[in-house]
């Protein structure tokens, strides 16, 4: 690795070659203000706030450079702060504020807005420039995320995320000059674009211009309705992130606190999506073993991620036969809540209100994605709230989340294994499946460290491994961040076309970088450092579990014994499986 020696405000520091000044300064403990730069993205260089001075052998350059987009050059000294730079930054922030609605009090980002923070840090008390606020209609067509172009500061993060990280191309700049705005590509409403509702745009927006559709009111209405039994499920990734909203460290496991807090706001019964994750493994694992032994429709591709499912239906529908027909854990949990649980608890499924707490905006759309989501005879899940929405509710109810006494989940579909909990991290579904598939194929349990498939862990965009199942090699691949998916699929297509051996037997895909722990509905400020902490939290949770393989979950064994018979049974197919259709984008 080659390095360059530079100075930040005269202080020498050595950084990796190719490091941008902004990142180098951060390493030197110097924060350069910026509104558009984001560590997940290539520098777009829009806001102009991060400008710095360059000093080298020729003296101080008269031109300022953008710290976000300029690579460090050997021997140069970067002046990041001085009164002149401060003045320029201030002017730019004042100009941005002059064109901003400044409706902080009623904005979803009040308190977490990056523009608000800048304004506060620069102590801006009045806007010297004439206001020029454009009132433009909101776009809430997706029913999952809302685009409010009036608040947009044109930082370009959302479009970059959508295009570069996710390869979806639903968002684009429209218009020119002061009329420039973000909109659905082709200036059509978002729901008619190839948008997959992953919500990464909302997670990266520095202000309140793109946000999750707030549906907290619906939960409160259900709680208030005496006829309804409100049943909640919480997704794996929520437990290691929601604490951040209450001053806890990212990655801190708060499962019991969430159960307790949910009950405190009036939820009747609390289950855990992790249970359904175990159930998914039983169905999908069985499906895999079946396809693997029959050599049919391989590679098997995971289908837990609704954003990925929609992406596949829109951009890679040739892969439909390879998709696991198993529903996502959320949908399995909903289905069994309104059948199995309703039976045991002697409740009318129509009077159960099933709410799921998800790290994800696409889950909001998943609950109605096809008729299969109504398998219980009514809508299997009634409402999805993101982590951010739930945190707001807890705050409204004055819950002292940090100190609330943890509680346990309800029976009979609340207990989970370590395999279920790692569903929230990239590679986790694969690892959980391998733990059970190994058993299903060999009838032997993986023991000791062999249970940890570290080969599929980590933040590499594409992870490939060959797993030895008692002499039989199983080739697996894991991709997260949808731009990485096409590479894998192309390998499969190429092999097929050339009649070569398939490169993989099993592929796991999660739409968001890092998996659900960094989903579009998670607390703001997600970047790699935070991803790592949340991931660590889930692996810790896994280690703490009494059982770490889905098939060992006693409640899973019970549900098959009492209700489904066996994995992939007729009843399981009716309730736990689904089908996919091609959804071409930009219909002619």
């Amino acid at each position: 690795m080659s390095t360059v020696n530079i100075q930040i405000n005269g202080k020498p520091i050595t950084v990796e070659k190719g490091t941008h000044i902004l990142a180098a300064a951060k390493q030197a403990g110097v924060k350069i203000p910026s509104l558009c730069a984001h560590p997940d993205l290539d520098a777009w260089a829009a806001c102009g706030i991060c400008v710095v001075k360059v000093s080298n052998a020729r003296g101080i350059s008269p031109k300022l450079v953008r710290a976000c987009a300029t690579e460090c050059v050997e021997g140069e000294n970067y002046i990041t702060h001085d009164p002149e730079l401060n003045k320029i930054r201030r002017t730019i922030i004042e100009m941005i504020l002059a064109d901003h609605p400044q409706s902080c009090l009623t904005c979803g980002r009040n308190g977490s807005c990056e523009l608000q923070t800048l304004a506060a840090e620069f102590g801006i008390r009045e806007i010297p420039f004439a206001r020029n606020v454009k009132n433009m209609p909101k776009d809430d067509s997706t029913g999952a995320i809302v685009l409010d172009p009036s608040k947009c500061v044109q930082c370009g993060r959302c479009a970059q995320v959508c295009q570069q990280l996710q390869n979806v191309w639903a968002l684009e700049f429209i218009g020119r000059g002061e009329k420039t705005r973000i909109a659905g590509a082709g200036d059509i409403v978002l729901n008619e674009t190839p948008c997959i509702k992953c919500g990464q745009c909302s997670a990266h927006c520095p202000v309140g211009a793109i946000y999750e559709l707030d549906e907290t009111g619906k939960l409160l209405a259900a709680i208030q309705n005496p006829e309804l039994t409100v049943v909640a499920q919480i997704a794996p990734a929520v437990r290691v992130a929601i604490g951040e909203e209450f001053g806890l460290e990212p990655g801190e496991i708060t499962t019991g606190k969430i159960y307790a807090a949910l009950r405190a706001i009036g939820v009747d019964t609390v289950f855990d999506t992790n249970f359904a994750a175990d159930l998914t493994i039983m169905e999908e694992g069985t499906e895999f073993v079946h396809r693997f032994t029959e050599k049919k429709d391989l590679p098997l591709i995971t289908s837990c991620c609704p954003a990925w499912v929609e992406y596949m239906e829109k951009y890679a529908c040739d892969m439909i036969p390879n998709f696991s027909t198993a529903k996502s854990p959320q949908q399995m949990q909903g289905a069994i809540t309104k059948t199995y649980y309703a039976q045991t608890a002697k409740l009318d499924p129509a009077k159960i209100f099933s709410v799921s707490i998800m790290p994800c905006t696409a889950k909001k759309q998943e609950i109605k994605r096809s008729e299969d989501m109504f398998s219980s005879g009514c809508q299997d899940n009634d409402l999805v709230l993101t982590t951010r929405e739930l945190a707001r509710l807890f705050k409204q109810f004055g819950i002292d989340f940090k100190n609330i006494e943890p509680q346990k989940a309800d029976s009979p579909i609340g207990q989970y294994t370590g395999a279920g909990t790692i569903f929230g991290v990239t590679g986790g579904v694969m690892e959980a499946a391998l733990r059970t598939a190994y058993y299903l194929v060999t009838n032997e349990e993986l023991a000791g460290d062999a249970i940890d498939f570290t080969c599929v862990r980590g933040m590499d965009g594409i992870k490939k491994a060959t797993v030895d199942v008692k002499g039989t090699p199983v080739r697996v691949a894991v991709a997260h961040g949808l731009k990485n998916v096409q590479t894998l699929l192309q390998e499969v297509r190429d092999a097929r076309e050339n009649g070569k051996e398939l490169p993989y037997h099993f592929i796991e895909v999660m739409a968001c970088k890092g998996g659900c722990i960094a989903g579009g509905g998670q607390p703001y400020g997600t970047e790699d450092e935070i991803r790592a902490k949340r991931i660590n939290g889930l692996y810790t949770d896994d280690k703490k579990c009494e059982f770490r393989k889905s098939h060992q979950n006693p409640d899973i064994q019970k549900i098959y014994k009492d209700f489904f018979g066996e994995p992939s049974s007729h009843k399981a197919h009716k309730l736990l499986h689904t089908h996919y259709v091609s959804r071409p984008t930009y219909k002619k």
Partner: protein, 594 residues
């Protein structure tokens, strides 16, 4: 077979819109009618530059120079000049004193000009490659392919001192050398023909009048840096230039001057045209490259510079039309010859599009270092209608004003920057006493508001803020604080905008503020616009000269003038829209503007 006479008809866009096509057809018919088709060749050429007096027809070898020709003049030109050998006096150029000049050498407009870039414009038929070749065309390409190494070409370019004519004046040889030094399997050559400054049309005229000069130069650069593919990015609003480029490219391919193994060498090079939709920002090189790639035309940060990482991330030489057009001559006549023209740091010539309140508007090409006085008075013939010279705006929306004080400053890249303006692509708009400096700054700022790509906040928001403040001042609502804000915003834009467009967009404001501070103060403190341009600051009143003829009242579009017949009329100031119709129509000097 040589002809006895050549009749050259200007076929540039300007003259074509004044029926040059019909003139051409009529001349051909008249020549045929007179049975002279074997003795006379009628040629449609590129622009002569003297657009003020177009359409232009020139007859060789007599060098008879006819201006403001109409299609109906064809018969007389054929009968008098071609058959009888006489000059048609009424079509010859006449200066203010009434002195007619029948040959260009006698016309002030041409006397101080030196045509290198426009060497073939108005002389050859741009749609015939043979005519270009007859004027030493493609000799430079042949020379570099068979007699020079790429390093020698770079050296020659270095000696010539040619600097980019697109505006910033970066040494061309350095650009080429950067690209040459980068190891890459693919490199590109790009011609920036996205001419966007209001009033500028030298690139259009060059491409219309001499397209091969650009093609040849691009091939030379391709050979020098090791590129085999070129792109010409041209705005779709230039259909004639596009058509002539396409013809030129087809002919060049046919002659083996483009395509595989040019002139039998191992060097292959071809060119494609890419049409721009007319966004000003696409003249900025990184935005232009993005647009060629099919992306939204938005600039990206530099570095990396296109020379190293350009089109599709490959090393790319990008020069503008005028720069390219200089290259073949530099190769054939030598860098030393080129360097001997112009000033020490700005060699060669510069083409300016001279417009505004000037008698002889048109395209002028002068050696660098020519003074503004020479351009405005000697070439341009001075200010129209005997008004006083106020300033010249150079560099379009990126430039600034040059005042009467600097009228004797030699014009080159560095002097213009020192004066707070810039060369830009060469737009030169002359203002007289009737032009309000705030109105002019507002005009350019409005242009920038529309043409900012919208990507970076200093430019997107700053242009609009400047425009709003200028509007406020022009309405007499300005305060001293506003002047401070203009400077503050202008400075932030200059320092923090992403691309050249944004960094230079405040120039018209800052430079006018610098040189015409008094005029700003007048608007603010006295609520007065001395040029009478800012409508909110002027009032029309009727004085005692009024005879009550009622003409003004009848002409007023908003019916705000009232009065009895033969009685003095009055203007209702609350309704008046300051259109000036009353003043224009009054026969008794009874309307006053203050």
């Amino acid at each position: 077979m040589a002809y006895k006479h050549y009749v050259l008809v200007c076929g540039g866009t300007g003259c074509e819109s004044s029926k040059a096509d019909d003139i051409f057809t009529n001349l051909k018919t008249e020549v045929a009618n007179a049975g002279l088709e074997h003795d006379v060749q009628v040629v449609k050429t590129g622009c002569f530059g003297f657009c003020e007096k177009g359409p232009i027809v020139k007859v060789l070898p007599e060098d008879a120079f006819y201006v403001e020709v109409k299609p109906s003049d064809a018969e007389e030109i054929v009968k008098e000049t071609l058959i009888k050998g006489r000059i048609v006096k009424r079509l010859a150029y006449a200066d203010e004193s009434g002195k007619t000049s029948a040959v260009p050498e006698e016309i002030g407009f041409y006397q101080k000009q030196m045509r290198i870039v426009l060497r073939n414009c108005g002389l050859i038929d741009p749609e015939k490659i043979d005519e270009y070749i007859a004027r030493d065309g493609y000799a430079a390409l042949e020379k570099v392919l068979f007699e020079m190494t790429p390093d020698q070409v770079i050296e020659e370019m270095k000696i010539s001192g040619l600097r980019g004519r697109g505006g910033a004046g970066f040494p061309t040889w350095m650009k080429w050398n950067f690209t040459k030094q980068v190891e890459s399997d693919v490199k590109y050559i790009v011609c920036n023909a996205d001419e966007g400054d209001p009033g500028a049309y030298m690139d259009r005229s060059t491409l219309e009048g001499d397209p091969h000069s650009v093609l040849e130069a691009m091939a030379i650069a391709g050979y020098t840096v090791g590129a085999n593919q070129g792109f010409i990015y041209i705005r779709a609003e230039y259909p004639l230039a596009i058509k002539r480029l396409e013809i030129a490219m087809a002919q060049a391919r046919e002659y083996g001057l483009l395509g595989q193994n040019i002139l039998g060498s191992d060097f292959s090079f071809d060119i494609e045209i890419r049409l721009g939709a007319g966004a000003f920002v696409c003249g900025e090189e990184t935005a232009l490259l993005a647009s060629i790639e099919g992306k939204r035309g938005m600039p990206t940060p530099k570095p990396p510079f296109p020379a190293v990482c350009g089109l599709w991330k490959k090393p790319t030489v990008i020069n503008n039309v005028e720069t390219w057009a200089n290259v073949p001559v530099i190769i054939t006549k030598g860098g030393k010859w080129f360097a001997s023209i112009g000033t020490e740091k700005s060699s060669g010539t510069k083409v300016f599009a001279l417009t505004g309140k000037i008698k002889n508007s048109g395209l002028v090409e002068v050696p660098m270092g020519t003074t503004l006085r020479e351009i405005v008075y000697d070439i341009g013939g001075g200010i129209k209608g005997g008004k006083a010279f106020k300033a010249v705006q150079t560099g379009g929306p990126s430039g600034g004003v040059i005042t009467a004080k600097m009228i004797d400053t030699p014009i080159d890249f560095d002097n213009l920057v020192a004066a707070g303006s810039m060369m830009g692509s060469g737009g030169m708009i002359v203002m007289d006493e009737d032009d309000c400096i705030i109105d002019v700054a507002k005009f350019y700022q409005e242009f920038c508001v529309e043409e900012s790509c919208g990507k970076c906040s200093p430019c997107r928001i700053g242009t609009r803020k400047l425009y709003d403040i200028l509007t406020k001042i022009s309405e007499g609502k300005g305060t001293m604080e506003d002047l401070e804000q203009l400077k503050e915003i202008g400075e932030a834009m200059k320092r923090a905008a992403l691309c050249g467009l944004g960094q230079t967009a405040p120039n018209p404001v800052l430079s006018s503020l610098h040189y015409f501070y008094d005029e700003y103060l007048e608007h603010i403190n006295e609520k007065k616009c001395r040029a009478g341009k800012c409508k909110k600051l002027i009032t029309y009143t009727i004085n005692d000269n009024c005879r009550g003829c009622t003409l003004c009242a009848r002409k007023c579009p908003v019916n705000c003038i009232s009065g009895e017949v033969r009685q003095k009329h009055t203007i209702d100031q609350t309704k008046c829209i300051k259109c000036g119709e009353c003043m224009k129509n009054c026969k008794f000097d009874a309307i006053e503007k203050r």
